[in-house]
């Protein structure tokens, strides 16, 4: 059952009995009189990838910031079920716990890799940072892990001591992904992971992401304006316009049979190569 009016994503049938990993309920954010996002509610199950699409300014990034605990919503709750099985409202947590979550069980991939990376230190240190924050104190182990992850994201191991400023845009984005996944998070938030990359690099990055998501059973929330990205990665889709969710459902359903006028416009405006 899919109703464009209700801003609620139906649970996918296979995982209906498991408790959800992330539950958003009535998440609303105002910037003074200006609306960021309004009354967003959904549930995300372990291993599931949720895409959020919409035009520029539709509140996608605001919503992602609220979900990932970096921006407190004006109203609503975000409840996360941690590795220990306890469901916690992330905005009721003390900041120390929230930060611990952010650097252990979550990953946050930013649109601009310069925001998500430490540009002043080497690639190895970038990957190792989360490990060191998690208490790793053995240099050899940290370096070994960094080396392994560089290879996973298809960056040459001999670039381990180079700074990210010497990397291309695509490599920086892959490095950012490695840096986030090194602690094996359960949930990753991605904001336009392919933004600003040329098409062939995008394709490789998407391939890589799809492989990693499948391999680690990651749950992910991916914000993008690129329908091809969600088609490839997302199981379910939410379409946002003017801060509100106008349509949601299984990705293929929404893209192949759009109900809401805006979604129809969005789907029909994709250039056919």
């Amino acid at each position: 059952m899919r109703t464009p009016e209700a801003a609620r994503v139906d649970p996918s049938p296979a995982t209906e009995t498991d408790p959800p990993l992330l539950t958003a309920d009535g998440v609303t954010r105002w910037y003074g009189h200006r609306l960021g996002c309004r009354d967003v509610a959904f549930m995300l199950w372990p291993g599931e990838v949720l895409g959020i699409v919409g035009e520029s300014g539709s509140g996608k990034t605001t919503l992602l910031d609220c979900l990932s605990g970096r921006l407190s919503p004006t109203a609503g709750h975000v409840v996360y079920r941690g590795e220990d099985g306890d469901a916690v409202d992330i905005f009721a947590l003390p900041e120390s716990r929230r930060r611990l979550l952010q650097r252990t069980e979550w990953g946050i991939v930013r649109q601009n890799p310069r925001d998500g990376l430490r540009m002043g230190v080497s690639a190895g240190a970038n990957i190792g940072e989360r490990l060191m924050a998690a208490g790793w104190r053995h240099y050899g182990d940290i370096r070994g892990s960094a080396d392994e992850w560089l290879q996973r994201v298809e960056i040459d191991g001999d670039r381990i001591d180079d700074r990210p400023v010497t990397f291309s845009g695509g490599m920086q984005q892959r490095l950012q992904i490695a840096r986030n996944l090194v602690t094996r998070p359960r949930l990753v938030f991605m904001d336009e992971p392919t933004g600003g990359l040329d098409v062939s690099v995008q394709a490789r990055l998407l391939d890589l992401l799809r492989g990693l998501v499948a391999e680690f059973g990651l749950a992910a929330v991916i914000v993008t304006h690129d329908l091809a990205v969600v088609r490839l990665l997302a199981h379910r889709l939410m379409v946002m316009q003017g801060g509100a969710v106008v349509e949601s459902g299984l990705t293929d359903q929404v893209l192949d049979d759009p109900q809401h006028p805006y979604t129809q416009l969005l789907v029909s405006s994709v250039l056919q190569a």
């Binding site: 900041e95 650097r103 240190a125 998690a134 104190r137 053995h138 240099y139 050899g140 381990i160």
Partner: protein, 292 residues
């Protein structure tokens, strides 16, 4: 000379600062001692010397010095460098206190860049001059963020700096201002002392106070507080070593300065702590060089 008499004869308050300022600084010091390693903001005053020359240290010293104190001031270990001489003379004139160059005689030692070689005792206070009090500054430029990181003990990034050292140089190349953790809690910049001096801070019986005038911060290590230098399991903390001994006094356990003697490349190594070197020579120790 009593404090009241000093005020009358010079027109200045005892030890230069007015009593309100001293009270403010003492409050900051008490708080710093109560929370070891925590940087307490204070309203740093203009002092009659430029920032970077010890305005923080001199304010801390002025706030705690008493008429019966005996002051020693060192700069890079030496009692006879410009900075040390002028600060020592400043307190001799404004507070009329006794001064000394002997570490064991001093009750109050203001220092820049060194901890004396002679072990300090419980009756002594060591005041450090600090240029950059924030150990996280190299990695995080935002003050609000570094304060939050201290508050939450979110210190993973500190090891990133050490990792980067090993990756680039094969070892932890940080030689001075080597970050330490105080009392298993706060990460602290020990001021630009060589890492050779870090172990001396650990469980030191003397009170250690740190003043940063430009950055307006005071912090402290109370007596007998554990001070641990950060490291990796497979790259443990170690101090500098020298292949030579001091040419003047023959000491093999002190921090040595390398001095270029002429333009043919002759060089000698001497103790950076001039008092320690002089004491040893007075006790009959001699190095291999003649010191000429």
């Amino acid at each position: 000379m009593s404090e009241a008499a000093a005020v009358q004869s010079t027109g200045y308050n005892f030890a230069y600062l007015d009593e309100q300022t001293k009270r403010m600084i003492r409050r900051a010091i008490l708080k710093a001692i109560a929370v070891p390693g925590y940087q307490v903001p204070f309203a740093s005053r203009e002092m009659p010397l430029p920032f970077g020359w010890g305005t923080g240290g001199i304010q801390v010293t002025a706030a705690i010095i008493g008429a019966d104190d005996r002051l020693k001031v060192i700069d890079q270990g030496a009692d006879d460098t410009t900075n040390a001489v002028s600060i020592r003379r400043f307190f001799a004139r404004t507070a009329g206190v006794a001064t000394t160059t002997r570490t064991t005689d001093a009750t109050l030692i203001q220092t820049r860049h060194r901890v004396p070689e002679t072990p300090l005792g419980p009756h002594q206070i060591l005041v450090y001059q600090v240029p950059i009090p924030e150990p996280l500054r190299w990695l995080e430029a935002r003050e609000a963020e570094t304060r939050r990181m201290h508050g939450l003990a979110d210190y993973g990034v500190m090891h990133v700096k050490l990792y980067e050292d090993i990756a680039q140089h094969g070892r932890i190349a940080t030689g001075y201002d080597y970050p330490v953790q105080v009392g298993q809690r706060y990460i602290m910049a020990p001021s630009p002392i060589p890492k050779f001096d870090n172990p001396k801070m650990d469980r030191c019986p003397a009170l250690q106070l740190f003043g940063a005038g430009r950055e307006k911060r005071i912090y402290a290590v109370p007596p007998h507080t554990p001070v641990k230098s950060l490291d990796f399991e497979d790259h443990p903390f170690s101090v500098e070593t020298w292949s030579k001994r001091c040419s003047l006094c023959g000491a093999g356990d002190s921090y040595l300065d390398e001095v270029i003697m002429d333009d043919t490349g002759r060089r000698m190594f001497v103790c950076s702590d001039t008092d320690y070197c002089a004491e040893r020579r007075a006790a009959g120790h001699r190095g291999e060089g003649d010191g000429a």
